[in-house]
């Protein structure tokens, strides 16, 4: 076969193969349940037992060209699929943008999360108005592991665990029944978490 003929066949074959692969991809992809545009990211921050229930606090980052960061609380351990979604619904979640967190100088811990499980609402309170961005940085440092941090080899696994432990100890989760109820009590001093009626 002439060289020019071989070249022509090659030039025709390449786009055909690409088109075939694309067709296979497009046929299979939509049929798969886990096909999604972009995956949400979920990082466990803290597990806390209050009364007879266990609560799981997660940092969640979602979106494509615009990312939003949330703190979400679950009353059963969530299992996330490849899209970062879970069948379990959070009992409360709040945007962590520092402008949205309320400042409550009475609280002892850097962050206090008040849950209203009946209404599936969560409120986040920072101790100090200047803490917001710092807390977000600390939280990121504590929970986003180095697999997601690209080339971050500056910290060992132990350092990540230590940062997470330190951050988690500064977060209080409080349960409340009614929205709009004033927080008349300071954080308890005996231990983590309390139920307020």
């Amino acid at each position: 076969m002439k060289k020019s003929t071989k070249l022509l066949i090659f030039l025709l074959a390449v786009p055909l193969v690409l088109a075939l692969l694309l067709a296979v991809f497009l046929m299979i992809a939509p049929a798969r349940e886990d096909f999604c545009f972009v995956a949400d990211q979920n990082y466990e921050v803290k597990v806390e037992r209050i009364d007879q229930s266990t609560y799981y606090l997660y940092l969640q980052i979602s979106g494509f060209h615009e990312k939003e960061t949330f703190l979400a609380v679950y009353d059963e351990k969530p299992v996330f699929d490849r899209c970062g979604l879970s069948k379990q619904h959070s009992i409360g979640a709040t945007n962590i943008a520092s402008t949205e967190a309320e400042v409550d100088t009475k609280i002892k811990s850097p962050i206090k999360i008040i849950l209203f499980p009946n209404k599936k609402v969560a409120e986040i309170h920072f101790k100090d108005t200047d803490d917001g961005d710092d807390i977000l940085s600390q939280l990121t440092k504590a929970v986003i592991n180095r697999d997601n941090a690209q080339e971050d080899r500056s910290r060992s696994e132990e350092e990540y665990l230590r940062a997470r432990q330190e951050f988690a100890s500064g977060v209080k989760i409080v349960i409340r029944d009614d929205l709009g109820e004033d927080d008349k009590t300071e954080d308890n001093q005996a231990g983590d978490g309390q139920v307020e009626k």
Binding site: D34, F64, N95, T140
Partner: protein, 273 residues
């Protein structure tokens, strides 16, 4: 004699060049191989390429033509995926980022009209407009926006600012920005945060409103704060793997002429009482 900054840049550039990889000619081909055939080899090629280009972007280095083409095709591949899995607005916007030359475009208003936070904010704005129309205030209701100070202070907006579940209902922030409900993936991948505006006229006992969302499509640049950079990485699931695409790299495409930020708009009209 080179300045300290120049020395630093040269060191960064050399570090990148040490990681240099052969740029794959058809990223969609390799993405398909990872997704369909779970090819680790193809994934490694894509991942190493992104890491290499990220290094160059952070060092503000110019891109070769094949490197620019790689990044462009990554975004074009998103258009395909978006089209076939119910994310047509997100796919359209992603493609326009690299092929639109910065021109404004329109997207289907349905993506907003079907949103819980949008519907609730529309109801709140309508109630506010009704109150303005009934009252003796001289304040005009002709043109309002969700970040209107008096609207945000009103009882109607206050109800949207607390007691909401962000997953199922979305939220209205204190600066009037609407955050898409997280369960609404079609909206959050197209437009996660936006203002809602409305132009209204009154005819007899009815109102006629034109609702509008106008947003800028762009990406967060690399920051000196590395913790912030970690929160701005897009995770593209490819079967059993995830390709991590830093938003700073996507933004850098606008600096090397591969992409352009642009405005997108959606609007819809209605009569209401």
């Amino acid at each position: 004699m080179a300045t300290a900054d120049q020395v630093k840049m040269l060191e960064a550039a050399n570090k990148c060049l040490a990681k240099r990889v052969d740029i794959p000619g058809a990223p969609l081909w390799h993405m398909g191989k990872v997704y369909v055939f779970e090819s680790d080899e193809s994934f490694k090629l894509l991942d190493n390429t992104v890491k290499y280009l990220e290094c160059k972007a952070r060092a503000k280095m110019p891109f070769e033509e094949d490197e620019k083409e790689f990044m462009k095709e990554l975004f074009e591949a998103s258009w395909w995926g978006g089209l076939y899995k119910g994310y047509k607005e997100a796919g359209k916007l992603s493609n326009h980022y690299v092929n639109g030359h910065g021109a404004d475009i329109q997207i289907d208003a349905d993506v907003y009209k079907t949103s819980v936070i949008v519907k609730d904010t529309m109801d709140a704005l309508k109630a506010y407009i009704r109150k303005l129309a009934e009252g003796k205030q001289s304040r005009s209701f002709a043109h309002l926006r969700s970040n209107d100070t008096l609207f945000l202070q009103s009882e109607f907006a206050r109800k949207l600012r607390s007691g909401r579940n962000v997953n199922m209902q979305g939220s209205l922030l204190e600066d009037g920005v609407l955050i898409a409900e997280q369960s609404n993936t079609r909206l959050k991948f197209a437009d996660h945060r936006f203002h809602l505006s409305v132009s209204t006229s009154k005819a007899s006992d009815k109102f006629y409103s034109t609702w509008k969302v106008e947003s800028l499509y762009d990406f967060q640049p690399f920051s000196n704060n590395e913790e912030e950079n970690k929160r701005h990485i897009t995770h593209l699931p490819l079967g059993h793997k995830e390709l991590n695409l830093p938003d700073g790299l996507s933004q850098y495409m606008t600096e090397i002429g591969v992409a352009k930020a642009f405005n997108h708009v959606a609007s819809w009209d209605e009569w209401w009482k």
